[in-house]
């Protein structure tokens, strides 16, 4: 009985992604959805001012964050991105 319970527990755990050691140089891959009228304008201004931001963040301009659809976020995760940043 106990063995069966342990086997069941292991089976349940097998569906959960195992926690892995994070390499020291690892950086999360992040996508940023930015509103054309505010956040993207700010990012643009940062560029004009020669300010830099991390290369692991990729910015996508939206006409408005109201344009952000559920599927945009899901597709990002499906493609393996670690985080989605929405600014507007």
């Amino acid at each position: 009985m106990a063995e069966a319970a342990i086997a069941l527990e292991q089976e349940e755990h097998s569906t959960v992604e195992k926690q892995q050691e994070i390499p020291p140089d690892w950086k999360p891959n992040i996508i940023a959805f930015a509103c054309h009228y505010c956040a993207f304008a700010a990012a643009d201004l940062a560029g004009v001012m020669r300010l830099s931001y991390p290369t692991n963040v990729k910015v996508i301009r939206l006409p408005c964050t109201g344009k952000l659809d559920h599927i945009y976020v899901l597709r990002a995760f499906e493609k393996g991105l670690d985080g989605v940043f929405v600014a507007g």
Partner: protein
């Protein structure tokens, strides 16, 4: 419109996990209005299921598709390629749409991804409430435009019953007593005496009690 609710992801997963190629098939009319079964929801559900398959390490190809209505022949033509590709079709239409899809492609496994809940209205954004029980013999002219068949917990035709208190039904403090509203509306309109008129017993054979229903328009039907 017909209101529906997507089945829990786990229940859907159990249905599809034994198949190789699954098409999540939306219906873009009634069930799209309640944001549960439209083509957009099909896209979202397919994405969630693909991630679930990856987590479970099970090899299934999942695509999404859809048409405007799964309850009319004409609309299926554009979906032929999508459906032919799949070995199982997870339809998120209402019960009628799912069955019609199944009839269209009898060789495919058709699975229900949605529970059909009721015929209702969009009372507020995101709030859908029942209005019609499809009894087949409308009595709204007698009850001030408020349906006791669909909206009274007991479908009483001579309410309110003793369970009505403060305008609410005894089954829950969140459920309004429709007979309370009917009486008040009739009083406001000065037609309260309508409720005192003798009415014959309702003929329920036009409802589900008469078996599956059929309607023919002879000028349109060959």
């Amino acid at each position: 419109m017909i209101v529906g609710k997507q089945k829990p992801l786990e229940e859907i997963w159990e249905m599809i996990k034994g198949h190789q190629k699954v098409l999540v098939f939306g219906c873009n009319t009634c069930v799209a209005v309640c944001h549960e079964g439209g083509n957009k929801e099909a896209e979202i559900l397919a994405s969630l299921l693909r991630m679930k398959a990856k987590q479970e390490n099970i090899d299934i190809e999942i695509r999404d598709g859809g048409i405007e209505r799964q309850c009319e022949h004409e609309f299926f033509d554009s979906a032929t390629d999508q459906v032919e590709w799949a070995d199982a079709v997870l339809s998120i239409a209402c019960g009628a749409g799912i069955q019609f899809t199944s009839e269209k492609w009898p060789e495919k496994i058709t699975l229900p991804g949605l529970n059909t809940t009721f015929i209702g209205v969009v009372e507020q954004p995101g709030l859908f409430t029942e209005r019609c029980a499809m009894c087949g013999d409308c009595i709204l002219h007698l009850t001030g435009g408020l349906c006791p068949v669909a909206r009274c917990s007991k479908s009483l035709l001579n309410g309110p019953c003793g369970g009505s208190a403060g305008g609410m039904c005894e089954i829950s403090k969140d459920v309004e007593c429709i007979w309370d509203q009917i009486v008040r509306k009739k009083m406001e309109q000065g037609h309260l005496d309508d409720l005192l008129k003798m009415k014959p017993a309702k003929d329920w054979t036009t409802s589900r009690n008469g078996g599956p229903r059929k309607q023919v328009r002879e000028d349109l039907h060959e």
